[in-house]
């Protein structure tokens, strides 16, 4: 934690203490002086009524009685049969209060040996209890989170917004815990100990925060029997574990927030530098048209790439630095920066959420985030083979489609990288204002979606939580990729024969510093192949009934099927998208194989 933050926190605590002191003084002093007066009254009356008692005798008696009471004796019932307060149940309870560091104090050791033993006992017992609490809290926390996750999935199935679900799950988990560990014991104590509701609540809170004043202690009167005290102690253990897990949860949220802000700051900084450079380079080639028209076989294509990149990354293709030699081939620069951002956000999500998110991250594949940077490679290489991609695609996809995709897509697939550029491309018209409006529109898109999706980064079920951090990563990626995609156009079109729609102005912004990695040679063939098949698939999709799951009739490739089965949630997306989609009119042009072989 930074120094200024720490100092601010310290000052905050001091201020808090002073405020509390003032309030307590205002609240308590009047009552205290009243009590004092009443006592003086009583003493005076007593002395007057019983004149043979001198004040000195009385004060002596009182002193010894008070000392006895402080030693823990119960002087009120002066019965001759002596029931010790140190019977086994009470001693057990006392040990429990020592170990949990509550320390009521209604009972405490008076002898030297007792005190010495107390010290040694606590030295061993407190850490032990700490471990126990950690273990219990862990299990309880996981159990609670599983239950909450089940509820969350239930809600998500009904297409409630993820933010809402997360907030609700957080609130629910707190409520459930509060109910079990605060409300129910309060009522129980109110009944059994005959306290008022406020006193019972006061006791519960003071005990569970381990303050433990000792003015109210449950089970202090004997008539409740010996079963009550162990039950109270059990409640204390679980209540403490619950409080501890709540505190860790709050701590996790704060940590996530602070990390996200830091990550965002980093990204924004890098974006800004990057963008200024892009603007400079933009003036050079913005007039190159975007001739090609493709529909969205990209969706499927990208999925294929994702899987292939995932496979590649799993095989250890993290060495993107090794690909630097291939710069000149298609004008790409190593996209280390992009990869790192997304990998950073991914790893953050993985780390932050704790155990459960780790499993989630593992499920989604470590390569997914890292593959973000790699993905545009293949696309770009495909394009460098002469196919320019869809402005029409962009127009065909409406904004809500992209937004819904980003929201509902918990697969951290940067659909945004695909869709955003196209979208923005459709909006802009003139070259220069294009770039700016494009950037602003993409800005607004991502910022909108991200603020919508942010909510509380509740660490429990975090594919959706990972959504927003992923989006943050994607935000950067998407904007960069936007430039990337448009950058590609000047390059291939110069290599290719002139395309017909050169009159259409396209916002071209050659990327200066951020380009995707040059793809491995096998990617090109795969891409072309995949793109064609994807197109075929998509066309069959668009034409068939939307709600039906796509059978494997058209595309024989088993990979696409597996992907379909993996992503059943895309059907609502597809519905909305298909509504805007025209049946694919322009089949993908075959790539100029001459360029492939370069």
């Amino acid at each position: 934690m930074r120094c200024p933050t720490l100092l601010a926190l310290l000052a905050g605590v001091m201020l808090y203490l002073v405020i509390g002191a003032l309030v307590f003084r205002t609240l308590e002093s009047p009552k205290e002086s009243k009590e004092h007066e009443k006592l003086l009254h009583t003493t005076r009356d007593f002395l007057q009524n019983h004149s043979c008692v001198t004040a000195q005798n009385l004060s002596d008696l009182i002193k010894s009685v008070v000392k006895a009471v402080e030693a823990g004796l119960d002087v009120k019932h002066s019965s001759t049969n002596f029931t010790s307060r140190w019977d086994l149940a009470s001693a057990f309870f006392f040990c429990g209060t020592i170990i949990t560091t509550i320390g009521f104090g209604n009972l405490s050791p008076r002898t030297k040996w007792g005190q010495l033993f107390c010290v040694c006992y606590a030295l061993v017992g407190i850490p032990m209890f700490g471990f126990l609490l950690a273990g219990v809290g862990d299990h309880m926390g996981t159990g609670l989170r599983k239950a909450v996750w089940k509820m969350e999935t239930l809600f998500l199935k009904q297409r409630v917004s993820p933010t809402y679900v997360r907030v609700m799950s957080a609130v629910l988990s707190i409520l459930i815990g509060c109910l079990i560990f605060l409300a129910v014991p309060t009522l129980v104590f109110k009944e059994v100990e005959d306290w008022s509701f406020l006193e019972a609540l006061y006791f519960v809170v003071i005990t569970l925060t381990t303050v433990g004043f000792g003015d109210y202690v449950a089970g202090s009167n004997r008539k409740d029997g010996d079963l009550f005290k162990p039950l109270v102690w059990l409640w204390i253990v679980f209540g403490l574990a619950y409080f501890a897990s709540i505190l860790t949860m709050i701590g996790n949220w704060l940590r996530v927030l602070s990390k996200k802000t830091r990550a965002e700051m980093e990204e924004l900084r890098a974006h800004a530098t990057d963008w200024t450079q892009n603007i400079q380079n933009m003036s050079m080639d913005f007039r190159i048209p975007n001739p090609l028209d493709l529909n969205d076989p990209f969706l499927l294509q990208r999925r294929r790439w994702k899987r292939s990149t995932r496979r590649r990354v799993r095989r250890g293709a993290l060495g993107h630095r090794g690909r630097q030699g291939v710069i000149g081939e298609n004008g790409h620069l190593p996209n280390r920066w992009v990869t790192h951002t997304s990998s950073m956000t991914r790893l953050e999500v993985v780390r932050l959420g704790g155990g459960e998110v780790r499993t989630e991250g593992a499920r989604l594949g470590p390569g997914v985030g890292l593959g973000v940077g790699l993905r545009p490679d293949c696309r770009v290489s495909a394009r460098s083979e002469g196919r320019s991609l869809g402005r029409t695609v962009a127009r065909s996809l409406s904004m809500p489609a992209a937004r819904s995709m980003m929201e509902l897509d918990y697969d951290p697939d940067p659909i945004a990288t695909m869709m955003m550029p196209w979208e923005s491309g459709s909006v802009s018209e003139s070259p220069e204002s294009d770039s700016r409006s494009v950037v602003s529109s993409s800005d607004s898109h991502t910022s909108e979606v991200c603020t919508a999706g942010q909510g509380i980064p509740f660490a429990s079920f975090d594919p959706s939580g990972g959504l927003c951090t992923e989006q943050r990563g994607r935000q950067g990626v998407s904007r960069l990729v936007y430039f990337t995609e448009d950058v590609r156009f000047p390059v291939p079109l110069q290599q290719l024969p002139k395309s017909p729609n050169s009159t259409k102005p396209i916002p071209m912004s050659p990327i200066s510093s951020v380009t995707p990695l040059p793809p491995p040679p096998g990617c090109k063939m795969l891409d072309f192949f995949g793109e064609n098949l994807a197109y075929i698939d998509e066309s069959s999709d668009a034409l068939s009934d939307r709600n039906q799951p796509v059978e494997g009739g058209v595309s024989p490739l088993p990979r696409i099927h597996r992907m379909r089965r993996q992503l059943p949630h895309r059907s609502p997306l597809r519905e909305r998208r298909d509504s805007d989609l025209q049946p694919p009119s322009n089949p993908p042009t075959p790539p100029p194989l001459s360029h492939l072989r370069d």
Binding site: M1, L17, A21, L22, L27, E28, E32, S33, E35, K38, L39, I62, S64, V65, V69, K76, S78, W86, L88, A91, F94, I98, I99, T101, G103, G105, P109, R110, Q115, L116, C118, V119, A122, M128, G130, F131, L132, H139, L198, E199, L201, Y202, V205, I206, T209, V211, G212, F213, L247, L254, R255, A270, N281, P334, R336, W337, H340, R351, I511, S513
Partner: protein, 314 residues
Amino acid sequence: MSSGYKSWILLTGFILFYVAYLLLGALVFSTIERPVEDKLKRDIQVLKEEFLNQSCVNATSLENFLERVLQANKYGVSILPNSSASSNWDLASSLFFANTLVTTVGYGHTTPLSDTGKAFSIFYALLGVPFTMLVLTACVQRLMHLVTYGPIGMCRQRIGLDPLAATAIHFAILLLLVVLGFFVVPAVVFSHIEDTWSFLDAIYFCFITLCTIGLGDYVPGEKPGQKFRSLYKISVMVYLFVGLMMMYLVLRAFHRMADLHGLTSFFQLPHCDEDIEEDKEPIIEAGPEDQHEAEASAKPLDPASQTSYNTINR
């Protein structure tokens, strides 16, 4: 799944062992304290009888009177002549009370009497306890760099000790220093200031306070006619805060050491995970090659390091 089972089994075993520990403690306390309690009770009985014998007071009125006195005493209001001057709720004492509430020590020598006071304590504690924990953790984090990572790194580089041995030695030294500085020395000071406390009482008080148990049988500054009472209470507050920080530091250093020695994974306990992300350096500083790695991986974030688009030959 076997590890899950193993963790469950460990947990139950742990709980059982814990219960056994509690029972053992209960037995020992019972055996030690009960005779003393008996004696005290008998003494009080004798005293009361003497009082009743020599005066015209009857038992019931005495009982009533004593009840009132004791009730007032429970709230800290004493009838004894010397203590009528100072209130329990002047500013310094209230600050002390707020501090004990927020650090969860909770002596209980003064407790809120009014209903509003109780309600306010509830909210104050619910907010203040996490707040204090946060501040303490933050302070401890920064202190860890200073106290733990620095010396250990230095130790390793200069003397070239094995990391395990270095951490163990460092922890032992830290523990010794903390015990000396925060238990022995304050105990001496307290036993001097408070005349009714012996040295053992003072050490017992320091321990019970710094573990936030706070039984409340010994509370400094409650003596009637205490000189510089406000200053005394405030300095006890500072001692409490700093001492708590030190205890957390020791605990954290111990956790780290246990991590390093593999104890936490052996007992399947949670690791000291949070530090790994936030601290820039591990407890054993990385060698020069690791630092190069770290720097190299950090480099791509700097856009200036990327070659610009213009350098691509078309």
